[in-house]
């Protein structure tokens, strides 16, 4: 078992790291303070292929693998959690379901423009009454002639308003399953600008403040019949598959946040002196850093393993769940410890660690809470 990276992955990582240091890091604090979506950064990332990393070349992508995509999100998140999640949501939550479930026409229509970064993608599943209980969907899609008519709303949608293409999950009817009447749920591709599709509230968040989190509103929104993604009635499966992949992206984001916080802290404790010594010379500091570093490496191994699993296995939900669970809890623990080791300065916004701690919290929640990940992992053990 070779734990090292080959040359192309090392070179890709160096590219992501250099880009993150030079282009993303200088803006991170400002993006957080102003809550402005980093439009120019997205354009720059698009220029170098970051918006289409794992998409095959025949659909305009870079033709690289999931591991490379995960490393990109990781390196970006080391300096800016907002930028990491923009790439993650666009890639895993929008492009991946089109690639996996789309018709050839849908793939050719959407993937080249999404992979090139000309268009940005998003995913609408969550509703006010349907978070972890995704079956609580209320948004409806009714077939009238050659059109689906959407009515309802989605909330907490990442890349909302800035995205051009949205994968929207909606109820298309009722079906009988195991003697019970259940909702028939389907998936659709909806373009921004479609009449009847508007945006509501922009959320004010604790962290990833530059990430645009919007409400989507559908009022008699008419989309073509062929906007259906995959089979009618398979929307819930499509959503769950999509989230399996999305979890790898978020795990990578959490990993990056943890690693970035650790790096900042190592630099800080070498400089900061109290009682005539640097903080680094105190054994308490050394032991804390050792624990943080070990957790980060363990998280990285889980994330990379999950990425490889998605490349090589038909089912990878358990690996993804373990990676996200561990990386998110690591991010929270490591960033919190990082603030503590910075002392008073850790609480000051000029020092990156407080932002990283605020950014880390959401990784334990979105795309499946840590509780959901535990459900997935234990269900697999106990089946």
């Amino acid at each position: 078992m070779d734990f090292g990276l080959d040359k192309k992955h090392e070179m890709a990582r160096s590219l992501f790291r250099e880009f993150a240091e030079n282009e993303v890091k200088p803006l991170a604090q400002d993006v957080d303070e102003t809550e402005q979506f980093p439009v120019e950064t997205v354009k720059k990332m698009a220029r170098y292929g970051f918006m289409g990393i794992p998409i095959p070349k025949q659909y305009g992508g870079q033709g690289c693998d999931i591991l490379t995509y995960a490393m990109c999100v990781e390196e970006l998140s080391k300096v800016c959690g907002t930028t990491g999640v923009i790439v993650s949501a666009h890639t895993s939550l929008c492009m991946d379901p089109i690639l996996t479930f789309g018709t050839e026409e849908q793939k050719m229509k959407y993937l080249p423009k999404l992979a090139s970064g000309e268009w940005l993608g998003a995913f609408g599943l969550t509703e006010p009454g349907a978070g972890t209980d995704a079956q609580g969907q209320q948004t409806k899609a009714v077939l009238e002639g050659d059109e689906w008519v959407l009515n309802g709303s989605k909330c907490f949608i990442t890349n909302g308003k800035y995205a051009d293409v949205y994968i929207v999950i909606a109820v298309t009817g009722k079906v009988e399953k195991r003697g019970k009447m259940m909702k028939e749920i389907s998936a659709f591709i909806v373009e921004k600008g479609t009449p009847g599709f508007t945006f509501g509230v922009k959320e004010k968040k604790m962290g990833i403040r530059g990430s645009a989190t919007y409400e989507l509103i559908f009022q008699d929104c008419r989309i073509p019949k062929d906007a259906l993604l995959g089979q009618k009635g398979k929307g819930f499966n499509i959503a769950m598959h999509t989230l399996d992949g999305g979890r790898i992206g978020i795990a990578a984001q959490a990993l990056g946040l943890a690693e970035g916080a650790l790096e900042r802290t190592v630099d800080y404790v070498k400089e900061r002196k109290q009682f005539g010594r640097t903080l680094a010379q105190f054994q308490n500091t050394q032991f804390q850093l050792a624990d943080m570093a070990t957790r980060c490496e363990a998280a990285q191994l889980l994330v990379y393993k999950a990425a490889k699993a998605k490349e090589t296995q038909a089912q990878y939900g358990v690996e993804a769940a373990k990676a996200k669970l561990y990386a998110a809890e690591t991010a929270m623990a490591v960033t919190t410890k990082a603030v503590q080791l910075h002392g008073g300065y850790g609480y000051i916004r000029e020092y990156d660690v407080e932002r990283m701690m605020r950014d880390a919290k959401i990784t334990e929640i979105y795309e499946g809470t840590s509780e959901v990940q535990r459900m997935v992992i234990s269900a697999n053990l106990l089946k």
Binding site: E18, Y48, G49
Partner: protein, 268 residues
Amino acid sequence: MKVIVCIKQVPDTKGGVVFNPDGTLNRGAMLAIMNPDDKAGLEAALRLKDQFGAEVTVLTMGLPKAKDMLIEALAMGADKAVLVTDRKLGGADTWATSSTIAAAIRKLEYDIIITGRQAIDGDTAQVGPQIAEHLGLPVISYTQELKIEDGYAIIKRQYDDRYHMIKAKLPCLCTALAELNDPRYQTVGRIFDYCDKVEADDKDTISTFSRADLDTLRDEDCGLAGSPTKIAKASDKVRKGAGTKVQFDTPEESVAYLMEQLTTRHVI
């Protein structure tokens, strides 16, 4: 339009400096980067590709590990790469280096050759102009701006407290300053493509020239033996002395002392 860009893999001094017993650098043992002036030259070439569809060939003389730098150049957008490598060429000074590179360039087609002004390891700034002399081409160094119009290179040359605008008929050679531009990054997909091709030993991706291929190069002009200049001594950075440490009770006293020292020593 065909552009040749000469690039050099230089030590990344962040990783520390290692010397051979004869005073030359042990490049194989050091972290390496593309020389910054050369990278600017490559970016200038890639802008000619963007504008005119020029074909960009990067060329380097170095160790086999310089292939990594060539992959980086290809991933930035270069079309072809040439590696000039042979033990017999090692230890070369600027004369031997420029003679060797000129011999390699004679086997290629070009409208313009771009080199970096100087490398951060040697700092001589000689190789670019020497290549031009070997090839009988006009050379414009310290290029701050480069345009091509109707078979001419129009170059803004940096010069002390002013600049010169120079128009040179192609083919010519110019040496680039790092300030010439902001080099682009590599593209992810191209990194993968070219790494795969190099691993598969694809000859079309990186052409390799050994000593035997350079038929216009004389033995007395290559390698350590063909170098009129030799390194007398090389050492790591000389460590500064411990300096003078003083301590005062108040910041005001410290500042007053510091100001007096700076004024006395004519620093300010």
